[in-house]
Symmetry: C2
Subunit: 526 residues, 2 copies
């Protein structure tokens, strides 16, 4: 079923000579399927098809797009070797694979519901006032339309939910934008299977050829060529700061710069207020031992930084965390490269001056399994040594022992942007420390009370994004239906013949959507 | 009343030694007031104050922000030398000055109304489901918050409505962002007066010092320093492609890239369909002679490109346009520099191969007045010579005579992004040419039917922006209340104590705003 070919639109294609295989980190061996890297010619074909498809796809109805998205979901569910392929390309357990497939399906269906309902276009109508003095007021009507072909880079740590038909793709297709996926080389087989499901769904629902392409790539060239292509109009990326920034730079240096939404690194600071530490510190330590090691610490919301004020309660927290975390069985990382990067970054942290190693799992583990570690450091050292601010992607965390809450706030204000911030507080304690809350809010996209940052609920109110470098543009979220806004622009019709307007802007409001009419929200007709 | 000093927050300041004056293009003489350019120290002070102000200003209520914005409007109306200063710094007539003041006041009040009402934050609430399997659903709530200090560059061609307290400033202040204005050197006095009104209003309404600063600048250094300052979080600009792109590049090269919304060049193509040309060509020619010369052609929506299919009707249109346009009295340009740029760009166009000069005003005019011109060119020549695609800022336009509608469409698809596109069509004619409409829509932010692009209605449904280089990010508009979205980011609270949530997210919905609650739009409480 996995042919190893690209999908250039609906057409399987393998014109190139460069091939590669994926890797099973559990077995520490290459998988069998051979993938053929996309050539420049195939890239150009895919983009040309996408541009052509955009002309029609951007105009089809929400109902038709919904059918397409729902059919993708069905076709993904119908793939019989998906879970097995996912596991052998990621080292992740079957339960996680199934959970992620559910999330992927759920996202596709949520976007289907969004576009079928139709209000997402934010229709706005100001009717004419021909008698207005000194000049007549024209009839002005606006709605959101797709930007054009979107390139999506899959995430290594979410082979399904943030890759081939994941959040970025679902949002872009919902917005009316054709998608060209730069397949993630670590899970090219999973990607190929999902791509086959998308293509099947596109054909079944009569979508134009080019609405979706899937291009294999083991290096950086395919991605670079795509981002530089003049007919590509936006980019979605999930991954490292280095790679995300490189793509952002390429896109901003184009003759026509294009938006890049890159969801990048985050160390997700957790602030433990004094009473919470005193009253529930040990219980939080157990909870955090699990959060830090969840999914081998390979979540973008992994808690990499824990802040408290120095003292017995924080020492007690550290001791419990240390004891608990080494009792957790190590698990497999996604790929030997990710494992070796973890090892390197962890070693760099462990070798910094003035840090103490609190926990460092030291029993024998299988190859490609990650040994968890926790270090602790004084607030002053942390402030001075920005190397300690860098993400260690994996089951690693650092407890920063601040002199007092004043120093804690100072440190928070100096942190880079983050996806999440968490505050642990006892009853009524937060009220007395709103300044701490303000400091954290300034640096993050999501603020969590008495919980853990891992686990990102897919719902309209979610914000997954934050000040740079958590994301390249904090004005958008990468998760939830509102992420569709990354791929649309407002478009305005002035004095346009009413019957030629899109349905969303017609007087009769045939779709029954919520609209802003003469500055009032209403579902009524005009 | 004009001191020539900067406003560093509330404090008039003139630490520098570099001074400059503005210029009266009608009298062709310098104005008297002397302005002191801001120093690096003053820039740093203004940004530090803005950062500090942001911590409180971003949290104040919509009612308080509305009072501030409305008071700015009142204080601007109370400035007794504003109109006179505007005229002597721009060469524009008094009627225009008054109209633009009304527009400025209107914008401030529209934003006041927007934030007083409160639904603009797009509040979204997903309530918890503690019993959900396999994991409980958290309580997740979202609203829009300000990005941080915003730098606003005033526009040369709108000394009031798109400068000191113009659209960008009003939108940023409404969003909860302090504003630092890089004053436009051509109308520094107008800017200083408006700045004094903003400062007065800020003090009257107890806004924090630093919520607004106004920095004088005659060169590019002040603007560059501001855009590179790490504490500046976004930039608004209106002006040339060259300057806008330079700022965009600076902002994307920062360690932390920041969004730049630059509203730049546009030549605003007008497509005349065959029947419209045949039936109403002469009448449109008269209308367009006026639109091309309105405000000495110094509007970003000036129609610089007129397309039709070659033939007698188009020839007739050109003849009438030529005759009408030379009968219009030339008017003054904003500044000798703008006049000389117009002359240079016009001459460049007039000297291209294979063009015909249709009209070229040749009577004596006052210095700094612009002589209007119209040229015509064949479609094939236009396609081949991209110099002809460049904006000639001033009372200039070009008629492109296409072989047929197929060539017309080809040309449209090759145009750079534009603010507006216009289609002139007879009854029922557009229906037969939806492909032409699609081509224009692809390249513009606003599509006008049987009208002129000049005249930008300020209303919620307006889109002033478009594919690059019309604007640097087509996902936003620069005009209308929706332009507030440029300066905000979504922010999410998870499991947050209800009483500590912003009013917009509290169960009782104390502001009575429209919210998305569990995926349904409602103004009800929870």
């Amino acid at each position: 079923m996995i042919t190893g070919k690209n999908y250039v639109g609906f057409t399987p294609s393998a014109k190139g000579s460069k091939t590669y295989k994926t890797f099973n980190p559990q077995l520490n061996a290459e998988n069998e399927d051979v993938f053929t890297e996309a050539t420049s010619e195939e890239i150009n074909e895919a983009v040309a098809l996408a541009s052509k498809a955009f002309r029609t796809y951007s105009k089809i109805s929400g109902t038709e797009k919904a059918l397409f998205l729902n059919t993708i979901a069905e076709e993904i569910l119908a793939l019989d070797t998906l879970i097995e392929t996912y596991c052998k390309e990621s080292g992740l357990p079957e339960g996680r694979a199934q959970g992620e497939r559910n999330r992927t399906i759920g996202q596709l269906r949520a976007f289907a519901e969004l576009v079928a309902e139709g209000s997402w276009v934010e229709a706005s109508i100001d009717t004419a006032q021909p008698e207005r003095q000194p000049v007549p007021k024209p009839d002005v009507r606006k709605l959101n339309i797709g930007l054009g072909p979107v390139v999506v880079f899959g995430a290594s740590n979410f082979p399904l939910a943030y890759s081939t038909a994941g959040g970025d793709t679902a949002a872009a297709l919902a917005a009316g934008c054709p998608v060209i996926v730069k397949s993630h080389p670590m899970h090219a087989g999973t990607g190929a299977l999902v791509a086959s499901a998308v293509v099947k769904a596109a054909k079944k629902t009569n979508m134009p050829d080019g609405v979706f392409s899937n291009l294999n790539s083991s290096g950086i060239e395919v991605g670079q060529t795509l981002v530089k292509h003049p007919a590509v109009k936006a980019v979605g990326f999930t991954g490292s700061i280095r790679a995300g920034r490189a793509l952002y730079n390429l896109a901003s240096e184009r003759e026509e710069p294009i938006p890049v939404f890159a969801e990048m690194g985050s160390i997700n600071p957790v602030v433990m207020l004094p009473k919470a530490l005193a009253e529930t510190g040990s219980s939080w330590a157990k909870t955090y031992a699990n959060s830090i090691t969840l999914g081998t610490g390979q979540f973008c919301t992994n808690p990499g930084l824990l802040f408290g004020v120095k003292g017995d309660d924080l020492t007690q927290f550290i001791n419990v965390l240390a004891k608990e975390i080494v009792n957790i069985e190590p698990t497999c990382m996604l790929h030997p490269n990710i494992k070796s990067a973890y090892q390197k970054n962890k070693d760099r942290a462990l070798n910094q001056d003035h840090i103490s190693i609190v926990a460092n799992y030291d029993k024998e583990v299988q190859i490609n399994y990650a040994k968890q570690a926790v270090i602790t450091v004084e607030g002053t050292t942390f402030l001075e040594n920005t190397t300690l601010h860098q993400e260690v992607f994996g089951p690693f965390s650092m407890v920063v022992q601040c002199e007092n809450l004043e120093q804690l706030k100072t440190i928070i204000y100096k942190l880079e942007g983050q996806l999440t911030g968490t505050i642990l507080a006892s009853d009524g304690e937060l009220e007395a420390h709103l300044d701490v809350m303000n400091a954290v809010q300034n640096r993050v996209g999501r603020l969590i009370f008495n919980g853990v940052p891992t686990g990102v609920e897919v719902c309209p109110s979610m914000v997954h994004g934050g000040p740079y470098p958590a994301s390249s543009d904090s004005r958008f979220t990468a998760v939830g239906t509102q992420s569709i806004k990354r791929w649309v622009r407002p478009f305005c019709f002035q004095d346009w013949p009413l019957k030629l307007l899109p349905l969303e802007l017609q007087n009769e409001n045939p779709l029954g959507i919520l609209r802003l009419v003469n500055n009032k929200q209403t579902s009524a007709k005009i």
